[in-house]
């Protein structure tokens, strides 16, 4: 066979249907498939899977115990009661858990950029940010999600409206967690390996979201709502669950949308600057 003939046989037909209608459905199938694969990977180590998830659940329970002790002694904290703090923990742990379970690579993006592991995702025809995010699942975070559901099931308002409000709160928290994390990790595109810094900023968000907004005054409030958007998560138990505070809710939704758009934009901007490394890496 001559080179020309060979060339013809190669372009003869493609077995991909990517240019056919039904793109959205295929995208969805891809995302679901990635999640089930992640879970299967985690199940490879069944015992440690259960153990780590259980540990995380226990960890959160210990914090609830701390607050139980606290409120046992002081009853009210600037208008917050134990019930509110429990819901706060449910939303914060739940939002974080959803991020780490379904978009588990979010907090590893800085490392992925710095070590050149983006290559594999870039060589494949799927939206890069989405593909990166869903390619890992933090097993321990499943414990966080379970914790959130458990606390809600035990202490939450289980009316239809209550469930809807809790679902919305979780969604807002998850979106803020995911895209704030993406943004701080994207710094690595510009200033090299920022793993430490990115992690600290991410950690600050997580930490702030687990304390009642009511303890912060002037400057603290400003940081909470303007710099690190933790306030939009940690005020949800009061501003959404207890009673809908419309200006706050609109603000929280706007911030979620803004972070999502900004994070995505920043990531794709950064891609243009991406300089892939040559480190020996294995996909884990």
């Amino acid at each position: 066979m001559s080179t020309e003939d060979r060339a013809n046989s190669a372009s003869a037909y493609s077995i991909s249907e990517h240019d056919q209608p039904g793109r959205l459905r295929r995208q969805l199938v891809f995302v679901l498939r990635s999640w089930t694969l992640n879970l299967a990977g985690a199940m490879e180590f069944r015992l440690s899977f259960l153990l780590t998830a259980g540990m995380m659940l226990l960890n959160n329970v210990v914090w609830i115990v701390f607050w139980g002790l606290y409120f046992g002694r002081f009853q009210v904290l600037n208008g917050w009661e134990l019930h509110d703090v429990m819901m706060l923990w449910a939303i914060s742990a739940g939002g974080f858990g959803l991020m780490a379970t379904f978009f588990g690579n979010a907090s590893r993006i800085a490392n992925i950029i710095a070590t050149g592991q983006l290559d594999v995702y870039l060589a494949q025809p799927k939206p890069v940010l989405l593909h990166v995010l869903i390619s890992r699942m933090s097993v321990s975070a499943i414990g966080d999600v379970l914790f959130a559901l458990l606390v809600f099931a035990l202490f939450g308002d289980k009316s239809a409206a209550g469930i809807a409000k809790f679902g919305l709160a979780l969604a807002i928290a998850a979106v803020i967690f995911i895209f704030f994390t993406v943004i701080v990790n994207c710094l690595a595109f510009w200033i090299g390996n920022t793993e430490g810094l990115s992690f600290q900023l991410f950690n600050a968000l997580v930490t702030f979201t687990t304390y009642p907004t009511a303890i912060f005054k002037s400057w603290g409030k400003l940081v909470l709502f303007a710099v690190i958007p933790a306030g939009f998560i940690s005020y949800l138990p009061i501003g959404l669950l207890r009673e809908i505070d419309l200006p706050f809710l609109i603000g929280a939704l706007a911030v979620s949308v803004l972070l999502a758009a900004g994070g995505t934009l920043l990531f794709y901007r950064g891609l243009k600057r991406y300089a892939s490394g040559n480190m020996m890496t294995l996909r884990r």
């Binding site: 990977g41 494949q124 040559n278 996909r283």
Partner: protein
């Protein structure tokens, strides 16, 4: 029809210049000094559809950078490139459905899962038609002899088994061009041989353009029609492998350990590079004699305890090319 076309392609990296010592570290933190380093410095070449091209050069010559620009992973700082009529970095997604890539040092297989699962995911990523995918998968499993490993977690596979799975995975969607970045790195001779053979068969049967980087002269010799050699980001050689073999790969190195002293020995057609006691290193000019003849010659007078035959390293071939053309570039 040309499937790869590259003109004056260049990529410069901005490097932070680090000064020595603690004071230097602090200084570079406050006021970093930058330096532009050209990894690829204006190279031009093209490849026809169905051709097998070897992209060669020593470590750090700019091979990986070039292949990453051609697959759309990196954006170049200057120049132009076209793969299958697409600009890789602006039409990356569109192009990626039609090309396959294997990066020897970056695995696309899921570490804790068996390859069959990654294959399945790949079929979703490339949105393959179900029936076609299954047929294609079974065909590749058979051809690459992967049946025994398909259900073993990747972390338990050997490097060679893993590499075969990597290549098969990148072929699932029937790419028209296959980019391979150091596919044989770290493998032993027999596994290398097998992988070369598989790639050659693929090219012959499916007409896939194969573009492969390597710093192993053996890869091209057995696999490719044409060789492009770069060094320090510049093109050094671009011609048929045949010609390169005749002209520059004329020598092979034989390392011998003899039973007794090697003093006063002479092998026609070979020069003695190194001699210390019973150890002997010969450089055999294959245009004058064969390896077999040289070895027979040695054996006629000495007893051999150990022998290895090697290709000359890339660095040596390049030095010879420079010797021929000076700084000039030879292209056909």
């Amino acid at each position: 029809m040309s499937s790869i076309r590259v003109e004056q392609l260049g990529k410069a990296f901005r490097m932070k210049k680090k000064q020595e010592g603690l004071a230097g570290s602090v200084k570079s933190l406050l006021k970093p000094l930058y330096e532009d380093k050209a990894a690829v410095d204006g190279i031009t070449f093209s490849a026809r559809q169905g051709e097998t091209v070897a992209f060669l050069g020593p470590n750090g010559a700019g091979k990986s950078t070039t292949i990453k620009m051609l697959t759309g992973i990196l954006h170049p700082t200057s120049g132009f490139a076209e793969v299958l009529g697409c600009c890789p970095w602006t039409e990356r997604t569109k192009l990626s459905y039609r090309i396959g890539s294997v990066f020897g040092q970056k695995s696309q297989l899921w570490y804790h899962l068996p390859p069959i699962d990654t294959f399945e995911l790949m079929s979703r990523i490339y949105e393959l038609r179900r029936g076609d995918y299954l047929q294609r998968r079974d065909e590749l499993i058979k051809r690459f002899e992967l049946e025994p490993y398909m259900h073993t977690p990747v972390r338990k596979l050997s490097l060679g088994e893993r590499m075969r799975c990597e290549i098969a995975a990148s072929l699932l969607h029937r790419p028209q061009v296959l980019f391979l970045d150091e596919p044989t790195i770290g493998l032993d001779v027999i596994v290398k041989q097998r992988i070369r053979q598989l790639i050659r068969e693929l090219n012959e049967q499916e007409g896939t353009t194969v573009f492969l980087t390597s710093h192993d002269a053996g890869d091209i010799e057995q696999l490719c029609e044409r060789a492009i050699v770069i060094n320090y980001g510049r093109l050094v050689f671009n011609d048929r492998v045949e010609w390169m073999k005749q002209r520059y790969m004329t020598h092979k190195t034989i390392r011998l350990v003899l039973a007794d002293d090697s003093g006063g020995m002479d092998v026609p057609g070979a020069t003695i590079v190194e001699r210390s006691g019973a150890r002997l290193v010969l450089s055999v000019d294959t245009s004058l004699t064969t390896i077999e003849a040289a070895l027979t010659d040695v054996m006629s007078s000495r007893r051999i305890l150990d022998v290895t035959v090697e290709d000359p390293p890339m660095e040596e071939i390049i030095t010879r090319m420079y010797g021929d053309f000076g700084e000039e570039v030879r292209t056909s």
